[in-house]
Symmetry: C2
Subunit: 470 residues, 2 copies
């Protein structure tokens, strides 16, 4: 396996300096030009599919079906951001005309524009070698916003990272995209500390993300750090939905838990059911479907070790019953399912920790009130899924309120894995699922992380005509 050599401090400085030098030109480039280059990146990725997908599979074991789909998604979002900026989304303008007279009613003309923040440090994820790596969503949104980018390649897919980076630098103006490499902590720390860096985007573990977030805050001049960290994504399966459709939902949920060997930030880690017949049948069906799933190898040895430790911890907790503990088969882990009750779940924070991989905790609750307590204990998560909350009842309103309070996305059908790239998407929830719950790392609102509002007061006509592109 190819491993990265850590970029030296001088190399990191040089990459950040190059991104800084290129920043004004890229920020000033007309949006039609930026859009054309984003589309050219997508075309270039797509043309290189035959070479890139096998390379990605060799390095990540995610399988060519998934990786082809992920490459499609990566191209789709590059083109989507191009469409968005051509439609004016990177240049929001609010123009308040002057009002004669004394304040507070009287006022000068104020024109609110947005300016790119400057060079962005981007930390690639292990589990999305295309969609959250060198040319993934964070890079696409930063480039679209008019920011240059310094990517820290993920050590899990070094050859793919280099290939995509090479392809990208052939398309983009000099300096706009930079890449540093490093398997250890020092490279990431040096990148976040570099004075030229004005914001950082990260997808990964709570531990790694929080450490870098602290570095960003400890700078002489702190910068925004957008970390997408861990999440347990509760699914609330109400009796009505299970009675009507339990078997199909069990199959769908097992697919979501096992998908990509459970290595998704939106993988459902907790399922809340009632103590009734339909729920018991559903749990049995879920265990059967999970037992039939065929997980592939995990991304790397550290993730595998983390999963093994996580499920071992789960099986050993007080009040926890093991429903499924499949043995590992060569490089692939087996799926795990445990069950507990609300009181145990509320009492034991270990049961609320993310286990990254194909495992899930069933929590049986007695009533609607216990469901709310369980959700409240989760605190922060990317998603909550509510099956069977379609009617406008007081209980369902309470449930929706509780879900909205802890999540950035609330689903009323389907499973949380698979995050659509749209303008309305919100992939970011309360701490610890992200470091800034008011922002998203998927969907077109992701650009807003890299655009800073500026009010122009009594601006000359030429400047307003240039709409902040000056």
């Amino acid at each position: 396996m190819t491993t990265l050599t850590d970029s030296s401090p001088n190399q990191i400085r040089a990459a950040c300096e190059a991104a800084s030098q290129a920043a004004p030109g890229w920020a000033a480039a007309p949006v039609v030009q930026r859009a054309a280059l984003l589309r050219a990146l997508a075309d270039s990725l797509q043309s290189a599919r035959e070479a890139l997908v096998p390379l990605a599979d060799e390095e990540t074991h995610l399988g060519t079906v998934r990786l082809n789909g992920e490459l499609d998604r990566t191209c789709f979002q590059l083109r989507g951001f191009a469409d968005q900026i051509e439609a004016g989304r990177a240049q929001p303008v609010q123009d308040d005309p002057a009002v004669p007279g004394a304040p507070p009613a009287g006022r000068p003309r104020l024109t609110r524009i947005a300016v790119p923040v400057g060079p962005v440090a981007m930390f690639a994820a292990s589990n999305f070698p295309f969609a959250f790596s060198v040319l993934g969503g964070d890079t696409a949104s930063a480039l679209a916003a008019g920011c240059t980018v310094v990517v820290k390649a993920h050590p899990g897919h070094p050859l793919l990272s280099r290939a995509v980076f090479e392809l990208a630098t052939a398309v983009l103006p000099a300096g706009v995209l930079q890449m540093v490499e490093g398997a250890g902590i020092p490279v990431g720390v040096a990148l976040v500390r570099d004075p030229a860096i004005t914001a950082a985007a990260f997808t990964g573990s709570v531990r790694g993300g929080v450490a870098l977030w602290r570095e960003a805050n400890a700078r002489p001049r702190p910068i925004p750090f957008y970390g997408e960290l861990g999440s347990i994504n509760p699914v609330v399966a109400l009796p009505g939905a299970l009675a009507a459709n339990g078997a199909a939902l069990a199959t769908q949920l097992a697919g979501s838990i096992a998908m990509g060997c459970g290595q998704f930030c939106t993988s459902p880690g907790v399922v809340i059911v009632r103590d009734d017949e339909a729920s018991q049948a559903f749990v049995k069906q879920l265990a059967e479907a999970l037992a039939a799933a065929n997980p592939h190898a995990m991304l790397n040895a550290a993730i595998r070790a983390g999963f093994n430790a996580g499920v071992a911890r789960l099986h050993g907790r007080a009040g926890v019953k093991s429903l499924l503990a499949l043995p590992a088969r060569e490089t692939a882990p087996g799926a795990h399912l445990v069950a507990t009750d609300a009181a145990s779940f509320l009492a034991d924070e270990v049961l609320r920790e993310e286990v990254f991989g194909p495992s899930c905790v069933i929590v049986t609750v007695r009533d609607a009130a216990e469901t709310l307590q369980v959700l409240h204990a989760v605190e922060g998560t990317l998603t909550v899924t509510l099956w069977g909350a379609d009617e406008d009842t007081a209980d369902n309103r309470e449930l929706v309120r509780a879900a909205q309070a802890i999540a950035g996305r609330v689903l009323f059908a389907g499973v949380p894995t698979g995050v659509a790239v749209t303008a309305a998407q919100q992939h970011g929830g309360p701490w610890p699922s992200t470091t800034n719950a008011l922002t998203t790392s998927v969907g077109y609102a992701a650009m807003e992380r890299f655009l800073r509002p500026v009010a122009l007061q009594d601006a000359p006509g030429w400047l307003i005509a240039a709409r902040g592109q000056a």
Copy 2:
């Protein structure tokens, strides 16, 4: 002088708990109801003007003309937020219809709404006893967004704070607005640490704000901390503007520097001029106009001591020439003006520190390039003012770019003091002027600090109809 008794830990906890209990009801209240109550707060403030303004003057020395104007502004913004939320601004909705087919093009229906973050801790400012205190902009924007508020009253105007709080609690539903008191650090720290608090807004010094920001980040579950800290607000006076209009601009600028005894976050602390005749005449006129100004007493002894130390430091720096050092008259300080060159300014960070009060540093530059260097050295500021940059020239484009890079508001006429409350306003700039440059504490976008996006996936009709008010 009345002093506050620090609220006890139990009192702080009780205030936060009450705000937490009231939060769901206030978040769910229809916007017409929230708007009506914001207007009722404005009416109530206005009715109490005869009692409140003298009380404010006694405690702050800001004068009844200014304080009457500030009360008007406070009422204006309460009503403005009411208008904004009735127009739908607190409930932005982006509705992306489902698209049939496989991802990435195929997608479920996604509806992006915004939910109030929960109870907000609000730290009142000393220098705006109405507009950034108990019912000021931060409180108004949080209430408008659907959040309950716990105000930490400023010890500089305790009686006014209590009177306004009493008036507000007679209008608002129980628990929606809470107040704690404390002159020392522990009350603020306890408030930011309270588990019920979900966000904090602060207006004050860099030192105090950064300390509380660190507390917000050190929580087990960190919260957003919106701090509006210090700013030196450079004014770039280009030769053309001074040749055409120097005397009038000198008078206007002196008024801005001396206004409120210089105790504004937007007070101009640095003026950049060229080494030519018009600029020399302007500086002379500015000194004369400042000498004729009649500052009133400062807000408190600590601010006064800080000002004395600040100007003493300025006069003593290498490369600095004293132009004006008026003696104090009883309780009021004298105005101060010093001059330096670009090289000294760039070399000495003391010259770039805010001196809160009626003082200003003139920096003479040789050319456009030195102007850019001086602006770049300022790093983060609420405003930059550009006089004489009306033509569309390469130099002016560079200048505007440099100003936008360091400021949240760029003025092309007038002076930076006096911040209009509009939708386009941006009162927030790069660190250290604020802790989050992507947000504003003045103007209607201030609400966005307290609204968290949530994407509803395949939401039932009743929920979309309720637009996040469920």
